[in-house]
């Protein structure tokens, strides 16, 4: 295709008519761009964190991780305490308080 072929380009443009734009299209586009820039500028790290926290996927993953970590650490601690209890029980049996 020869790009300088103006006649061909005119025919091509006529074959694909572009729809007419709604009223105040340009103004609306610029306003939306300005609004978007303004909201980006006003976002603090706290707003960003709040937005992150409110994401369902993030909230679900964070909650699952917290519960799993709690369960694992709790089980480890419970096991340690049970061992401590068993040791204390043995010592109390072989060395009652009366003789210490």
């Amino acid at each position: 295709m020869n790009p300088d072929d103006t006649k061909f380009r005119e025919v091509l443009r006529a074959a694909r008519p572009s729809p007419s734009l709604p009223p105040h299209f340009k103004e609306n586009v610029w306003r939306r761009i300005e609004d978007a820039e303004a909201s980006v500028k006003s976002d603090t790290w706290l707003d960003a964190l709040a937005a992150l926290v409110l994401r369902p996927r993030f909230a679900l993953v964070a909650a699952t991780m917290l519960v799993m970590t709690g369960v694992l650490l709790g089980a480890r601690e419970g096991n340690r305490m049970a061992q401590k209890d068993a040791k204390a029980q043995y010592i109390t049996a072989v060395a009652p308080v009366t003789m210490r």
């Binding site: 603090t44 709790g74 096991n79 029980q89 072989v94 003789m99």
Partner: protein, 148 residues
């Protein structure tokens, strides 16, 4: 108050509740499940890696010692009551009370030497390393030794 701050603080509080709740529940359940019945020597077996043969010998020794120990405890309780009676309404330590206190101390000393003998006998059934560790641990917990 800032909406974002409320959201973040709320999320932190919820996270803390989730973590503490799951930790406490898991700890409680695990402690209950792993708990050993009274008189069980399972802890000893696990802690000092004892085989069944060693465990059997220690169990026999343990039962014999508990019988001795209960008798000694009764004797000590009797001596304590004698000291209490000798000191009753007294504002100073009279010669009778002093004698009773000495008797009680002698009884306790005898009891402690029996206990120490039991620990030594148990430690000799274990492997040398474990026996040394057991003896140090028991002396530390019952007689207040430094455990060095």
């Amino acid at each position: 108050m800032n909406r974002s701050l409320v959201i973040v603080l709320g999320a932190l509080a919820l996270g803390a509740v989730l973590f503490i709740g799951s930790f406490a529940a898991s700890q409680r359940i695990c402690r209950m499940c792993v708990a050993q019945p009274t008189g069980s020597l399972d802890w000893l077996q696990n802690e000092y890696h004892l085989n069944n043969e060693q465990m059997g010998r220690i169990q026999n020794l343990h039962q014999a010692y508990l019988t001795q120990c209960a008798a000694m405890c009764q004797t000590i309780d009797g001596k304590k009551q004698e000291v209490e009676a000798a000191l009753n309404n007294s504002t100073n330590v009279n010669p009778v009370a002093a004698q009773k206190i000495e008797d009680l101390a002698a009884c306790r000393a005898h009891c402690q030497s029996q206990m120490l003998q039991y620990f030594i006998s148990v430690s000799q059934i274990m492997s040398p390393d474990q026996g040394h560790r057991y003896l140090a641990e028991m002396e530390k917990n019952t007689l207040g030794f430094s455990g060095k």
